[in-house]
């Protein structure tokens, strides 16, 4: 059985990869994919803690995180579609109407 630290380390690495992706990518859909990666990293931490401590609460929380991720994907992709209709581009640097 792999120790708890390995699971949490994998979770931390995946979260960092997702965070770096959000910073360096310029395509709105790719940034969204990286956010999903970060959500999955947190899910892994929750499931591993839940299993190692024998408490079902963590896995229920993962279940709810997954439904929230589905809702977020539906609304986020709708926003991306409407941005693309208005601008013909998905580059987040070009969507700067709120910039002072």
């Amino acid at each position: 059985m792999a120790p708890l630290t390995w699971y949490l380390g994998l979770s931390a690495l995946l979260f960092t990869i997702g965070a770096v992706g959000v910073f360096i990518k310029r395509n709105a859909i790719t940034i969204f994919l990286c956010i999903e990666l970060m959500l999955n990293a947190v899910n892994l931490a929750l499931v591993s803690l839940s299993s190692f401590f024998g408490d079902i609460g963590g896995q229920l929380f993962v279940f709810i995180v997954m439904t929230v991720a589905a809702a977020e994907a539906a609304v986020g992709l709708a926003i991306i579609i409407s941005i693309y209709r208005n601008r013909e581009s998905l580059n987040v640097d070009e969507v700067d109407n709120l910039k002072l």
């Binding site: 059985m1 792999a2 120790p3 708890l4 630290t5 390995w6 699971y7 994998l10 931390a12 690495l13 995946l14 979260f15 960092t16 990869i17 965070a19 770096v20 992706g21 910073f23 360096i24 990518k25 310029r26 395509n27 859909i29 790719t30 969204f32 994919l33 990286c34 999903e36 990666l37 999955n40 899910n43 892994l44 499931v47 299993s51 190692f52 401590f53 408490d55 079902i56 609460g57 896995q59 229920l60 993962v62 279940f63 709810i64 997954m66 439904t67 929230v68 589905a70 809702a71 977020e72 994907a73 539906a74 609304v75 992709l77 709708a78 926003i79 579609i81 409407s82 998905l90 640097d93």
Partner: protein, 172 residues
């Protein structure tokens, strides 16, 4: 017991490689396909944690439903590759690397202080009602956690209505 460790290492490496591939690919479609690989590997990692239900839901909901939504939108929009003509704040991107190192260093500093802990053994009566089975999740979900479950269903309803309103064309 050794078999679980080997499985964990194999699928952890697979998850990390496919996650890095999400960043390396310039075409969003390849990034999405690579992320499906990460999600499937994580499902295998959940199996080594004896979380069978979450592993199945990970495949069905994440790798199935959510990623299909992503791939569908990518194909609908015919997204150009991630090679922007205008690139503002080019220097800021290189700041991401030191900050990523900082983030990793912080988390591993915390992990070093974690006390060693091993997984609880399966109950003597068999694994039918152990933590992570469908029985345990269903029982807890519809008794102690009923309110979060209902609130989540309302949230899903709001997301469906919101997505329809946002993606609708303006001229009708």
């Amino acid at each position: 017991m050794r078999g679980e460790t080997i499985l964990f290492v194999v699928f952890a490496v697979l998850a990390l490689v496919t996650a890095l591939n999400v960043l390396v690919q310039r075409n969003p479609l390849y990034s999405a396909l690579s992320l499906i690989g990460t999600l499937a590997s994580l499902s295998a990692v959940y199996m080594t944690l004896r979380a069978q239900f979450i592993a199945a839901v990970q495949i069905v909901v994440y790798a199935g439903a959510i990623m299909v939504l992503f791939v569908f939108v990518i194909m609908l929009l015919n997204v150009p590759k991630d090679q922007p003509q205008v690139e503002k704040q080019k220097g800021l991107r290189y700041l991401a690397i030191p900050f990523a190192g900082l983030l990793i260093a912080e988390t591993f500093t915390v992990l070093q202080r974690l006390p060693a802990r091993s997984m609880p053994p399966l109950p003597a009566s068999g694994g039918d009602q152990a933590v992570g089975t469908t029985w345990s999740i269903g029982t807890a979900l519809f008794t102690d956690y009923l309110l979060p479950f209902e609130v989540t269903s309302v949230l899903i309803l709001m997301a469906v209505v919101g997505a329809m309103v946002l993606a609708r064309r303006e001229n009708d």
